[in-house]
Structure formats: structure tokens, C-alpha cells
């Protein structure tokens, strides 16, 4: 199956296991993300896709297996080193996860003021905030509160909050879920333009076939806790395996 090995791998997951109680979610999952690549991970709800990317960023601890991000093994890092690494990884949460009590500006300033190692202590954050908001086309929303934004706008602002740290990797957790088809298309176009502009590598967790078709360089189907099949959208779409076909019908 397709895996563009001409580019250096930026994320490598080997034999990842994670169990919640008696529920075995990940059972030897493997993944390689190459530089500049958009890798789509598809799977049924509850198949462990979100758990996998949360392990990737240190929000969940795997039972066993290794996760290497930019040649650093997450499992062996101290908290300070994990925080430092997180400045290179943007995470777009499924429900946007904007801080309710903060304005759009404060939401964007929050990671900037926290990750002081990467940027130092910035006196005037306005130019960076505006730049990030402009890249998602919402510069005029700077003073709004999250409850004044629509679902699509929230997703864009969350993306701007991710971009403000200028990450090398972006993890998208269901970026189009809960959005109408038009807004979904806008978000997909935005993701593509971000990848071109910032040259990011991305893992996109989704079960939206249109999203996968538009954005994937490569795809993995996560079934029964393992990477069941890997390939381009066209390769997987042409598969005769009923488990694979179930996603594309």
C-alpha cells in the first residue's frame, strides 16, 4: 500500500495498545506520517480514532507501544519537554473547545502567553492574533465571545488558535462533524490552504468521505483497534473488502 517514503517520517506510532476497563480500543495500531502529508484516519464511532490522537499529544497514556513525534518518544518525555513539543503540534478539537469565559482575542492569546519558551514574553500580541484570524477569514470577530459565534465560525477560530503557534503538525479531530455541507466544504478548503501556506503535516480523524476524498494523500482505516487497511482514497474506494466498502457506500 502507498506510503511516500521519500519524505522523512514526522510521526511514527508502533504497536499501540489502549484499553478502557474491559474495552480494548487500540490493539496494536501502527501509523507513519511523513512530512507535508495529509493522512486521513477513518473508523466507526468509538473505534479509538480520537483516543489515538490524544495518545499522540500526551492527553492519554497508552498501555503499551511507542509514539515518536519529530524523533522524540512521547512516553519517555518529562512534562516540560512534552509542553515544548506541543508548540509544534496543533490540535483542532471536535467541538472546537474554545474557552467560554474568554473573548476570541483572549482565546488566541492564551497559548501564546503560555508557551513562552517558543516565543518569549510577547508584549503586543495583536499582530499575531490578527494574522491568525486573517488566515481563517475572521479578523473582524476578534472581540466577540464564543457564544456569539456560529458552529462554522467556532471551528475557524479554533483553527486560528491552533495556527497562532505556527505548528509543524496539525491534528484534526472530526473537523467537519456537526457542520452543514457548505460550511464543511469551506473548512476543507481552509485546511487545504493552511497546508499549502504553512507546509504542515496533518492527521485528520473523520468519517466524512467527502472530506477524506478532498484532503487525503493517504488513508488508514481503523477497524478492531488495528490499521485494517492503508492506501490512497482511490485504492480504498476500489477495495472489494466488505468492511472497507461499508465506509464508501
Amino acid at each position: 500500500m502507498t506510503n511516500d517514503s521519500s519524505k522523512a517520517p514526522i510521526i511514527v506510532i508502533k504497536d499501540l495498545h489502549k484499553t478502557f476497563g474491559t474495552n480494548k480500543v487500540l490493539d496494536g495500531f501502527n501509523l507513519v506520517l511523513n512530512e507535508g502529508e495529509n493522512l486521513v484516519v477513518m473508523g466507526k464511532s468509538g473505534s479509538g480514532k480520537s483516543v489515538m490522537i490524544k495518545c499522540l499529544i500526551g492527553l492519554e497514556t497508552p498501555d503499551s507501544g511507542t509514539i515518536s513525534v519529530m524523533n522524540k518518544e512521547i512516553n519517555t518525555l518529562e512534562q516540560v519537554a512534552i509542553d515544548e513539543l506541543r508548540t509544534e503540534i496543533g490540535f483542532l478539537f471536535q467541538g472546537s473547545a474554545l474557552y467560554d469565559s474568554m473573548s476570541v482575542r483572549e482565546n488566541l492569546e492564551f497559548p501564546l502567553r503560555r508557551h513562552t519558551k517558543k516565543f518569549g514574553k510577547i508584549k503586543d500580541t495583536t499582530p499575531l492574533v490578527i494574522e491568525a484570524l486573517e488566515s481563517v477569514g475572521l479578523a473582524n470577530a476578534i472581540n466577540l465571545m464564543p457564544n456569539e459565534l456560529s458552529g462554522g465560525m467556532k471551528r475557524r477560530i479554533a483553527l486560528a488558535r491552533t495556527l497562532i503557534l505556527k505548528p509543524k503538525i496539525i491534528l484534526y479531530d472530526e473537523p467537519t462533524t456537526g457542520l452543514d455541507p457548505i460550511t464543511s466544504k469551506e473548512i476543507i478548503l481552509l485546511m487545504k490552504s493552511i497546508q499549502e501556506k504553512y507546509n504542515t503535516s496533518s492527521i485528520i480523524i473523520t468519517h466524512d468521505v467527502d472530506c477524506a476524498k478532498a484532503i487525503a494523500n493517504r488513508m488508514i482505516l481503523l477497524i478492531d483497534g488495528i490499521n485494517y487497511i492503508e492506501g490512497t482514497f482511490e485504492e480504498l474506494n476500489a477495495s472489494n473488502d466488505p468492511k472497507v466498502q461499508a465506509f464508501f457506500k
Binding site: R86, T87, F91, G95, A97, L98, Y99, D100, F110, R114
Partner: protein, 261 residues
């Protein structure tokens, strides 16, 4: 019968598990609050919100309790010809017990449930995860600041409520018997001793700690879904109210040992 006992054992087990988890949460608070980074700005913000949001409610409740307590006690004291003891009786009752416990219960309902709902909602909408990804320790930023703020603000709110309750009592006495402000408050200060004020004030720190701890614990460990947020807020109030009475009993018990009342 067998099933009945099995159910009882299950309830006891889950109760002990909950107590263990709360103790672990409290242990984590003591372990983490001593070490930097300190979220001083957020702590001040929480002090302002917690104090300011409850000030009016605590004030009005305290004032009304003072009024009602005096009005209710008057006929009985009159029967024994002991109305002149009103100021002493009201002040000792308010300072020692009624003020702290009523204020703490009000704050459990207002602040405890608010913290439970706020953190619960942040948990289910992944805001706490987002905070962690942003290089912030959410336990320090959200939990430690809130527990410290409730611990420090509750004694101040209790003092404020006590003062208004005694003032409410004075108003009744002034209207009914034309008792002067100076005479009433002279009696109040003459009767009050350190053994009334110090233990009562000290226990309010523990009340505040309990309100913050349970509110944060319930919110921070909220199960997925909006129903979980409601449950977290509700459980925060129920657990805190129970804990307040237990702390109160222990505080009175210890006070009695020290002051041999």
C-alpha cells in the same frame, strides 16, 4: 435477602471509593499548590468572582436571619423577663454557629454548584484538554486557584454575613424597645470572647476549602455529556452540604476539648 445485602455492600464500596478519590484529589491539591508556576492572576480573578458573586446573597440572608431570629426569640425571652439578654444571645448564636453554617450552605449552593457546572462543562467540551495542549497545567489553573479562593473568601463572607445579621437584630430591638446602637453593640462586644470568635472563624476556612474541593472534584471528574454537567453541579451541593455538617461537628468537638465549655 442476599440481593439486598449485595446492594448494601455495593453502596458502601462506591462510597468508600468516592471518599478515596476525593482524598486523592485533595492530596494532589496540597502536592501541587506549593510548587510553581503560580497562577496568581487567575487566583485574584476567582477571589473577585467568588466574593463578589455571593456578597449580596450572603448579606441579604444574614440580615434577614438577624431580623427573624430576634423576632422569633422575643416572645420567649419576654416570658422570662430576659429581653435584655437579646444582644448577647443573638451575637453568640450568630458568631458561633448560625452565621458560619448558613453562609457556608448558601455558598455551597451558589459557589460549589457554579464551580461544579463550570468545570464539568469545560471537561465535556474538551476545554480542559485544550488548556493542557496550550502548555497549561489545568489542575493548577482551574482547581488550585478556585480552592484557594473559596478557602480565603468564605471567612470574609461569613464575617460580612455575621455583621449584617447582628445589625438586623439591632434594628428589631431598636424598633420594639428603642434600644440604642451603642447599648446594643456594647452588649454584643461584652459577651463575645476569643473562644467564640477564633474557633468559629477558623472553621470557616475549612468550610471554604470543602466547598472548593468538592465543587472542583465533581466538575473536574464529570462524566461525558450535558447530563453529567447537571449531575456534577447537583452532587457538588449535596456532598458539600453533608461535609459541612461533618466539619462543623468536628470543629465544635475540638473547640469543646480546648475551651472546656
Amino acid at each position: 435477602m442476599k440481593k439486598y445485602f449485595a446492594n448494601i455492600i455495593e453502596v458502601i464500596k462506591s462510597f468508600l471509593k468516592e471518599v478515596g478519590e476525593i482524598s486523592y484529589f485533595a492530596g494532589r491539591f496540597f502536592k501541587e499548590f506549593l510548587f510553581p508556576p503560580y497562577e496568581f492572576k487567575e487566583f485574584l480573578r476567582q477571589c473577585y468572582y467568588i466574593g463578589n458573586r455571593s456578597l449580596f446573597l450572603v448579606g441579604v440572608t444574614g440580615f434577614i436571619i438577624g431580623l427573624v431570629f430576634t423576632l422569633q426569640s422575643r416572645p420567649t425571652l419576654q416570658e422570662f423577663g430576659a429581653v435584655s439578654w437579646m444582644a448577647s444571645m443573638v451575637s453568640v448564636s450568630i458568631i458561633r454557629e448560625i452565621g458560619p453554617i448558613i453562609t457556608a450552605l448558601i455558598c455551597a449552593g451558589r459557589i460549589g454548584s457554579g464551580i461544579g457546572a463550570e468545570l464539568g462543562s469545560m471537561k465535556v467540551t474538551e476545554q480542559i484538554d485544550a488548556m493542557e495542549v496550550s502548555g497549561t497545567n489545568p489542575f493548577k489553573y482551574l482547581v488550585i486557584t478556585r480552592i484557594l479562593a473559596t478557602t480565603l473568601m468564605l471567612p470574609l463572607l461569613v464575617i460580612f454575613g455575621d455583621v449584617l445579621a447582628i445589625y438586623g437584630s439591632y434594628l428589631v430591638e431598636n424598633i420594639k424597645d428603642n434600644v440604642s446602637f451603642q447599648l446594643y453593640f456594647n452588649q454584643v462586644f461584652n459577651i463575645l470572647e476569643y473562644s467564640d470568635v477564633v474557633p468559629a472563624t477558623l472553621k470557616t476556612f475549612f468550610f471554604g476549602f470543602a466547598i472548593g474541593l468538592i465543587g472542583c472534584y465533581k466538575g473536574y471528574n464529570c462524566k461525558k455529556g450535558t447530563a453529567g454537567v447537571g449531575k456534577a453541579a447537583n452532587a457538588a451541593v449535596v456532598y458539600t452540604s453533608m461535609l459541612l455538617f461533618i466539619i462543623d461537628f468536628i470543629a465544635v468537638f475540638i473547640t469543646n476539648i480546648f475551651y472546656k465549655m
